[in-house]
Symmetry: C2
């Protein structure tokens, strides 16, 4: 048996983090979590630390009387990622805050298993350049991108005609546009097929999530935007597919569980035996269907893809404005239907800025968030 | 541009052969047909020869006043395969008669694009040994096996949990068993999704075709029989899939056209641009469904898989008895429902014989056919 590989699990108390620990519990011969970090849920982190005894524990925010030896503050993410006993950084941080740890790990030549899609949306060019320059490896944990990675299996970009990201369509897939506009938080959190954190669940309801995934796919696989499409597939069984230049289509299928993409990101390009995912039973699936995206009802999708195409700071602005708008919606401060206009307003104002450096990106990120808050305040007033 | 590769097309006037010529017409920069052989349709062969001007033309049977320079008789298959200007032998001969050409081509270190599944059913051990020993390459043209080859993409057998061959279920998928027993030739030739030759269409109606494919998959991919399953998928969109040891499933999808597997068998492991297959439009598909196989209604499937597991001469007996029974059914000599008992009778009588050599296989092949004819005569009398 080869030596186990050390994993830093950033965001260990979230949906991806807890799924990852279930995977690691089945794969103790191959991997060991040597660093766990959480955002603020220190009680769950304490339970995980008690169970796994990692060499490093970090909490980004809060927790006044932390256990001795725990590290505190946002710097713990990069600190955990850079530990010499860490071979793989599983980045499951929510939002653009995950970017510095991704960059640091790639610059140190490590593998980053990336569940933090904002990393690539905000800093796609910087991140792919870091991986190229320093030999780090970026492997997606999103189910859609894991599907595409598995279907590509080392093929070259010129052999790809189109990448197709499937979308469940979210809870409002069949709702009329005016009803969507006044959807409640409870409505929006009722995702039909996936159990996920609240930010990503709202993004799935607006389809902003799918825009972030298109941008992520562009950076991960080096495929131009005009060869990446989205199709609605309500059953979430086909996790995405690739159409090749000869007309052949390869798809990856499975239950809506993140444990498989997590495991694959750790073991890629190999596969290892694992029984965490129920055996695939197509007869039990019922029928699989596909629908076109209703772009009129879900303007966040087209807006996000346009921001990706625009490049520069536009994707970072889209992402920051969306994060701010989603947070306001979750707080009950704005209606569901206000989000697209708030994000569009931020893009109008800052979308033309240059990207180039991390500093420039943080500046537009902050400006876009402030702009959304100001505009939202005006909505209420 | 690299030099074009010479193709011998054995069975050029059949369904696969004419599809192959459409593919070759689009891929003139890469491939050229240097040898065409047909079974008996000499007028169509003459038209193909006039269009393509191959260096070699052969007719297996009939045609009293053939054009000057045409070769005649069963030996033309091996002769065409062994020509030095032939790099790839596309073997689309119907039935066990295709075996010698496959063996000869593999022994000469060539690529065999194999649409003749009986080659592997009858002589699987001999054929795979010939490929291993002499460096020939065997690439499937069946849509199911092409799908699996594409999904495997060079992965190792130990990474595979199961191969799943999809079956349309044929025209009698929903028929009661007693109605199936008295189905007419016209009923059986009415395949719901695929346009194919008559022998394979009848095999699709009995599901004997799927048994032959299971045996073929076992030999092509080196996967034990207990890890190869069949599931009914009436829409024939998912051409087959692979479940890996980590629980992930990769599937190949597309329209029911043989042009894609033909092209892939020529270009594998590369893919080349081709617009012969309509772009994949999942929204137009309607819904995709799966059903278990009704083994009680389609006994030929289980019987064939058991013959494969049995090994030795059993698969050859199954294949020969099935060929004889299908021919008798197509002639109107026996009812549809008589075929399973005739094949079972031949297996009971000869299935325990040793395989080992081509001579032994031909002997049981002939004995099984004779047995079926004798038993069928008794049915009528």
């Amino acid at each position: 048996m080869a030596e186990t590989r050390g994993v830093a699990l950033l965001g260990s108390t979230g949906s991806i983090g807890t799924s990852a620990l279930r995977v690691l519990a089945r794969q103790r011969d191959r991997f060991r979590p040597v660093a766990l970090t959480a955002h603020g849920r220190h009680e769950l982190l304490a339970a995980q630390v008690a169970e796994w005894a990692p060499a490093y524990a970090g909490l980004v925010q809060g927790g006044d009387d932390l256990p001795a030896g725990w590290h505190r503050g946002p710097a713990c993410l990069v600190e955990a990622a850079l530990r010499p006993d860490v071979d793989i950084v599983l980045n499951a941080v929510v939002g653009a805050a995950g970017l510095p740890a991704t960059l640091a790990a790639l610059e140190a030549g490590k593998r980053v298993a990336l569940a933090n899609k904002e990393t690539l949306v905000v800093g796609g060019d910087l991140v792919t350049a870091a991986a190229r320059t320093h030999g780090g490896t970026l492997v997606p944990v999103d189910s859609e991108h894991s599907a595409i990675l598995q279907c590509l299996a080392g093929r070259q970009p010129h052999e790809v005609r189109r990448l197709l990201l499937t979308a469940s369509g979210g809870p409002f897939r069949t709702w009329a546009s005016d009803r969507i506009a006044s959807a409640t938080v409870a409505d929006a959190l009722r995702h039909p097929t996936w159990q996920m954190g609240s930010k990503i669940t709202i993004d799935s309801a607006t389809l902003a999530n799918k825009a972030l995934e298109v941008i992520e796919a562009h950076h991960l696989f080096g495929i131009p935007y005009d060869r990446i499409d989205v199709v609605v597939h309500p059953q979430s069984v086909i996790h995405s597919y690739v159409e090749f230049v000869d007309g052949s289509v390869l798809a990856q299928l499975g239950a809506p569980s993140m444990e498989l993409p997590i495991l694959f990101a750790l073991t890629w390009p190999d596969r290892v035996p694992d029984d965490g995912v129920a055996p695939f039973d197509p007869v039990a699936l019922g029928s699989l269907t596909f629908e076109p995206v209703r772009h009129d009802a879900f303007p966040m999708l087209g807006m996000g893809i346009a921001a990706g195409r625009g490049g520069g700071a536009a994707p970072a602005v889209y992402n920051a404005a969306n994060e701010a708008a989603v947070a306001l919606f979750l707080q009950g401060a704005i209606p569901f239907g206000a989000m697209p206009a708030l994000v569009a307003g931020a893009l109008d104002r800052f979308g033309g800025a240059a990207g180039g450096t991390l500093e420039a990106l943080w500046a537009v990120d902050a400006a876009a968030r402030a702009h959304v808050h100001a505009q939202a305040g005006r909505l209420k007033g």
